[in-house]
Symmetry: C2
Subunit: 170 residues, 2 copies
Amino acid sequence: VTTEADPRFQRSREAIVNAARELLLAHGPAAVTHNQIAELAEAMATVRLPFFDGAASPYRGWLTRELTALARQLDQHDVRAVTTTLSSTALWDTAMDARRAGFAEILSQRLSAALAQAEKQGEFSPRTDAANAAALAIGPLYYRATIERAVADASLIEQCVVAAGTWHSP
Amino acid sequence: VTTEADPRFQRSREAIVNAARELLLAHGPAAVTHNQIAELAEAMATVRLPFFDGAASPYRGWLTRELTALARQLDQHDVRAVTTTLSSTALWDTAMDARRAGFAEILSQRLSAALAQAEKQGEFSPRTDAANAAALAIGPLYYRATIERAVADASLIEQCVVAAGTWHSP
């Protein structure tokens, strides 16, 4: 079961946060040097993203749990700080851009693979290209956390699950 | 018709970009001082967001055009730079956070009002709380532009329209 107390989250968050907290939270991005950005990018390279792993039937319940875990992580101030700093600095720093691209690719591939598995089992029908699944399922949670700066409740998470495609009872 | 050449976009982009380009693109966020962030926040306060205005039947076509215009803006490097810098610096700068909250509220209110109008005309049925509409419709485009750094094609935009709720022919 994927919960906030899951050690996967603890480990990955600690690795990123140790490198980033002092830099970002104490002084803001204005105090961060190019060297420190490079260090942060290195720290991120060691992190294994703890999302969309271990897909299993029933897949709809699995996806709901994974998106709930992701939303709970995005409720954390430090996770928001690292994520928005990554997306911002990636625009001018090639090392950070490589991390951004890597994370985006991993999330998209894992989710596509899981949905393909669910489709094979007759539990899911895609409505669109598999390459759109991550944006449709994760995008609303990311917007809620970093633009609206509010909590993703169960009703938003449910709509993200539905946005991924059409679900059928296993 | 809302297009890239629409003067609304030109004016608002110029106002933001004049204040931000030198700061962000030449040196990156690391070169931006607190005073400059404050100036950027002021520049943003003068901008009228050119999205989700003038809703009219048929509403599905209107929303498709508005989301397409938004996606085309998010394809621009400078718009991505300003947006991600806003979401990042808002975490530690209260003036920027007030701008972020203001923009998020305006987008959410305009979209909710338009969908309520569409519902009254029998063209739309919500599937979820109106407060979720902005995250569901805009979130995937924002994620595609700033995390996946790729173009939102017509199929993703169509899925964003569908994610907002159920549409009926007028």
